[in-house]
């Protein structure tokens, strides 16, 4: 079953006085439970594609259907709700809230969803344990290593059981061993929870872990291979 359908997607934006054609007609279909890497050089349009899929950025032309809904026609409020309930994010630089503990960071999206405190606590401790951070719940991000912070970010992204996790270069700031451990965690979650993962990456290791590799170049899909 198709979770995401992107048709003739174009995105132009202005940078200073010049127009950048970030996406020039992308066609893509991603099914539920896939573990996909979108690879390409800098400026190829990977991050823009993830931003448009999640409704963080608007489209210039084309279609994005996610979980049966047309993302391009949604109101900002609907997009916010969609991100809150159906999409998890893992960013390159962890992007945890530094004033919150690891557990509170994981609880944050559940707080926004209105999940009761006791349930939030139980779920967050459970998910931290699953990403190998049992006992780290009280730590604040600045006191944790990069790998630990990224695992908290993964826990935050998946704790609400989203349909899709978008991970923008999640291993870029990690050494290869930590990156591999993180990918193991995500792969396991993909297999056990059937959560769909889409990565944008330069990292060959991420590409190796992925069952499907989509290469983009100059705002277009260059190749799309499933192993």
């Amino acid at each position: 079953m198709k979770l995401l359908e992107v048709g003739q997607l174009k995105k132009d934006y202005r940078e200073g006085k010049t127009w950048v054609h970030a996406l020039r007609g992308v066609d893509l279909q991603i099914g539920e439970g896939e573990f996909v890497a979108i690879a390409g050089p800098s400026g190829s349009g990977k991050t823009t594609l993830l931003n448009v899929i999640s409704g963080l950025d608007s489209v210039t032309e084309g279609q994005v259907r996610f979980d049966g809904d047309d993302v391009t026609t949604m109101t900002p409020r609907q997009l916010t709700h969609m991100r809150l309930t159906k999409i998890g994010f893992v960013f390159q630089v962890y992007n945890l809230i530094p004033v919150l503990t690891a557990q509170e960071n994981v609880e944050f999206t559940m707080l926004l969803q209105g999940v009761p405190a006791a349930k939030r606590k139980a779920l967050s401790l459970d998910i931290l344990s699953r990403v190998g951070l049992a006992g780290y719940g009280h730590r604040r991000p600045p006191t944790m290593s990069g790998g630990q912070q990224q695992r908290v970010a993964v826990a935050r992204a998946i704790v609400t059981h989203p349909r899709l996790v978008l991970a923008d270069e999640p291993t870029a700031n990690l050494d290869s061993e930590t990156g591999a451990k993180l990918l193991d965690v995500m792969k396991e979650l993909n297999e056990t929870e059937k959560i769909t993962f889409i990565f944008s990456t330069h990292d060959p290791m991420v590409m190796d872990y992925s069952r499907r590799l989509i290469r983009v170049r100059d705002g277009r899909v260059d190749s799309d291979k499933t192993r």
Binding site: L56, P76, T80
Partner: protein, 410 residues
């Protein structure tokens, strides 16, 4: 974990900046508390000095006497009224008076004057007339012909202590009122209008000369505190009604001296504008701090929006940070402002440099700030209102943050 808790922790991110911002609010709040209390204290002194100078806190007059002050509308039974008033709590002194007008002459010089008939003993207990004698002495009990003359009037008449003066006017019944008086003392109140026109002579002498038939123009009442004024006025009215003295009216000093109350109101209101301007300057500083704190976290705000936080919640969170910081500042301001103000409320603030000037007019050079709930409410109100208004801009900006643009911030 709530937005309040997140906002609270965000305040602790840059402790030095937050402390400085809170201190700015604290300082503004403390300055306002002290200044407003000082202002209220000076009003209390002004009221005290005004009511002690002449009017008293209250006056019992015949209904219809005020504001024309026609002699014919006199209080015919002053002793009965004074007996009622003296028996009431908070009443410190009571004095009957006749307020007459006439021409005052010495030799060939003649000037218009306001001639007060006073009971020297009771008047001394009520007003500061005895304290503002610059030359000569006060009228003694039993003196029938002595008179106190305003220093400027005496100068105009060319009269000194021991000189004779004559007065001429119209009595309550329309008859000619005339008499001869001997200057016992010269008074200087500092209010040129009074010093140019005032004469104070024994009550009986003026009553006789002006055909008052034992009546008086007013019975002035001095209380131990101005705050009881309204309550005592009501009580006097009630008691007089009970005794059938229904043609008497009780007037409070703001009615008798509308200028004093108006000048207090004008001074207070202009003070409020000045304080608001002061806090506005602080407000700009605070707005700058809030804005800096907001801009520094732009990327993080983008993340929050990406995670599904609604712009309104984000705006609320940013605003809550400002609210908490301002509240911290206000608590600090109260902690600073109240003890300092209380200290000077007890000890008084001595404007010793101007001591001679104050003393000349029978005023105390020491002002006691008056801390009250009104002062605290105004001080806190102004600081909170302007500070929180200053925080609106960052909060509005937060509501308009575009997640994708915010995420590009590093």
């Amino acid at each position: 974990m709530t937005l309040v808790r997140i906002a609270w922790r965000n305040i602790g991110r840059n402790k030095r900046r937050s402390i400085l911002s809170a201190l700015a609010v604290s300082f503004a709040c403390a300055v306002l508390i002290f200044s407003m209390a000082l202002q209220r204290g000076s009003y209390a002194d002004m009221i005290y000095n005004t009511v002690h100078a002449h009017t008293g806190h209250l006056q019992v007059q015949r209904a219809g006497y005020w504001p024309d002050r026609t002699l014919a509308r006199r209080v015919t039974s002053p002793d009965a009224i004074m007996a009622v008033v003296r028996a009431l709590p908070h009443v410190r002194a009571v004095a009957p008076r006749v307020n007459a007008a006439g021409l005052v002459s010495k030799g060939k010089r003649t000037f218009g004057g306001l001639i007060f008939g006073i009971d020297p003993v009771r008047e001394k207990a009520l007003s500061t007339m005895a304290d503002v004698i610059r030359e000569g002495k006060y009228i003694e009990e039993g003196d029938r012909e002595g008179v106190l003359v305003g220093s400027l009037l005496a100068e105009n008449l060319g009269a000194g202590v021991g000189d004779e003066i004559v007065f001429l006017g119209q009595g309550a019944d329309g008859s000619l009122a005339a008499g001869r008086l001997v200057v016992r003392g010269l008074i200087k109140t500092g209010v040129s209008e009074m010093d140019r026109t005032t004469l104070a002579a024994p009550l009986a002498t003026i009553q006789d000369a002006y055909s008052m038939n034992g009546g008086v123009s007013e019975v002035a009442v001095l209380l131990d505190r101005d705050k009881y004024r309204h309550e005592v006025a009501g009580e006097i009215e009630r008691k007089l009604r009970e005794r059938g003295l229904t043609n008497a009216a009780v007037l409070e000093w703001p009615t008798l001296l509308p200028g004093v109350e108006q000048s207090i109101r004008i001074d207070w209101n202009s003070g409020l504008i000045m304080y608001a301007a002061l806090v506005l300057v602080v407000g700009f500083g605070i707005a700058n701090t809030f804005l800096m704190a907001f801009m520094e976290r732009m990327h993080e705000l983008g993340v929050l929006l990406a995670l599904g936080m609604r712009p309104a919640s984000l705006s609320l969170m940013v605003y809550l940070e400002s609210v908490l910081l301002v509240l911290l500042g206000v608590v600090g301001g109260l902690a600073m402002g109240i003890p300092i103000t209380r200290y000077f409320q007890v000890r008084g603030l001595d404007f010793g440099v101007a001591q001679e000037t104050f003393a000349e007019y029978g005023l105390s050079p020491v002002i006691h700030p008056e801390l009250s709930l009104l002062v605290l409410a105004w001080a806190i109100g102004i600081v909170v209102l302007i500070s929180l208004a200053a925080a609106i801009y960052p909060a509005v900006k937060a509501a308009r943050v575009k997640p994708v643009e915010a995420l590009r911030h590093t």
